[in-house]
């Protein structure tokens, strides 16, 4: 019987979008049955338009910067957009997949994508903002597959 992987994706920045989709697509390639439960900011990863995913240097002292930069400079308007632009260039130049591509790979491989209904209500998201290939559910839905999974990760 196939192994099962259950992920919770709770973060919605460009950098943190990678772990759930990399792990899910790879696990699917290894014949795992995979489900991802998207909650809170993670729901952003299910939107049709992923172009506004950003990465912030603020509060992230481990982020490699071209030149050392004190915190107060990172607060300035435009810094987040600049960091995001630089990250996207790096991603492309190193042959790292885009989030769109990884998400498509997950969908193609039959990864189940579940959006947290409570978060949708909380943030007044519209169902039409999201891609079609998702289901909506709550914590009990997560445990329905997580309880039977071999690997469970919170990201």
């Amino acid at each position: 019987m196939a192994k099962k992987l259950a992920l919770i994706a709770s973060k919605g920045s460009l950098d943190w979008a990678y772990p759930p989709f990399i792990l899910a697509s790879t696990a699917a390639a290894l014949d795992y049955e995979v489900s991802i439960f998207f909650t809170f900011y993670g729901l952003t990863l299910l939107k049709k338009d992923l172009s506004d995913l950003k990465v912030s240097p603020l509060g992230n002292p481990a982020m490699p910067m071209p030149v050392p930069m004190p915190n107060f400079v990172q607060m300035l308007p435009g810094m987040e957009s600049m960091a995001t632009m630089m990250m996207k260039q790096k991603i492309a130049s190193k042959g790292v997949a885009s989030i769109e591509d990884l998400r498509s790979a997950c969908i193609e491989a039959g990864v189940k994508l579940i959006a947290c209904q409570m978060t949708v209500d909380l943030f007044d998201f519209k169902k039409t903002d999201f891609i079609d290939e998702i289901e909506f559910g709550g914590a009990a839905t997560f445990f329905e597959f997580a309880g039977e999974s071999d690997v469970n990760l919170f990201i």
Partner: protein, 77 residues
């Protein structure tokens, strides 16, 4: 070594070589051989791990001028 299908995963980073490999294997018949080339140094360990977990057979691997080449025999259904 003879092969039935060839895939170029050069200049792609993790996990793309593995995803391409999986797709390539789905397009050939059991016991046929897929040749795949990659430049990601992490792919060496990853292809071994992929084959170990999926039952496909890693027949051979080599490295020349920073290009890693893998020959993978598709498992029986």
């Amino acid at each position: 070594m003879d092969f039935d299908k060839e895939l170029d995963a050069r200049n792609l980073n993790c996990p793309l070589p593995i995803l391409r490999c999986k797709k390539g294997l789905s397009e050939i018949e059991p016991a046929q051989i897929l040749k795949i080339m990659a430049t990601d140094p992490g792919s060496v360990k990853d292809f071994q791990a992929f084959c170990k977990q999926t039952g496909h057979e890693l027949l051979a691997q080599d490295e020349a001028e920073s290009v890693f080449t893998f020959y993978i025999k598709k498992r029986a259904n």
